[in-house]
């Protein structure tokens, strides 16, 4: 079962979940939007989202079979929450949804979902892009690439933006 947190500081909603098993971003998005509509009685005027999935090759084009994600239970969630709050306040967005996979993920499976609701497109898109970058650099996750021959490689930081 996914570990889920709802934080309701002031009127802003931040929902974060870590998933040890495959998650379906669009299903999470639908549930999140329904919850937003139920809470605010109107759909957000602007929603920007990003979904990252397991690539079939590593940075050098070598074929991969799976990706393993290690995280720091406790700190990872706290960091995501802090980063989400910063993105929200910085861009005056309305709500954020973050889902992240942990454990071993197969090719094509979702790794991360970041979605931001706001009243206008600029804040929604900028907050979404900023939060994704912040997650990639400041939320304690480590990726181990698995190749067909069983060899593995820890990913050293992120691909350029």
């Amino acid at each position: 079962m996914a570990m889920r947190w709802r934080f309701y500081p002031r009127s802003v909603v931040v929902e974060i979940s870590l998933h040890p098993t495959p998650f379906h971003p669009l299903a999470l998005l639908a549930a999140w939007e329904d919850a937003l509509i139920a809470r605010t009685d109107t759909a957000p005027a602007a929603t920007a989202c990003f979904v990252g999935r397991v690539r079939g090759h590593d940075g050098n084009g070598e074929p991969l079979v799976a990706l393993e994600l290690e995280h720091y239970p406790g700190m990872t969630e706290t960091q995501i929450e802090q980063l989400a709050q910063q993105a929200l306040q910085h861009h005056q967005a309305l709500a954020v949804r973050v889902a992240h996979r942990v454990g071993r993920a197969a090719l094509g499976e979702a790794l991360v979902l970041v979605a931001v609701a706001a009243d206008r497109r600029g804040p929604a898109q900028r907050a979404c892009t900023e939060l994704l970058e912040a997650l990639k650099h400041h939320a304690p996750f480590w990726k181990k690439e698995w190749r067909a021959d069983g060899s593995t490689q820890w990913v050293q930081g992120n691909t350029p933006l």
Partner: protein, 80 residues
């Protein structure tokens, strides 16, 4: 005692992800790193690419530690 945690490649190299270490030998994260560098096959000086977290918050490597603190050494992060 300090609760020391390693992740990713560091955990694999050390062969452990968590250990208790006496606070006496490690007044700061830097000093604590020196006590485990050998078994990590790493230099005694904390490499810049390794970040430090104290009680699950990013921290400076020279902060004074307190008994009971949780100190983690974090390899380069690759989230998202």
């Amino acid at each position: 005692m300090l609760r020391v945690r390693l992740f990713g490649e560091l955990r694999e190299r050390a062969g452990w992800g968590e250990q208790q270490v006496s606070h006496a030998y490690a007044l700061t994260p830097s000093q604590l790193w020196q006590t485990i560098a050998a078994e990590l096959g790493a230099t005694p000086d904390l490499p810049a690419r390794i970040r430090v977290a104290v009680n699950q918050q990013f921290s400076d490597a020279n902060v004074a530690l307190c008994n009971g603190d949780e100190v983690a050494f974090l390899p380069p992060i690759s989230g998202g």
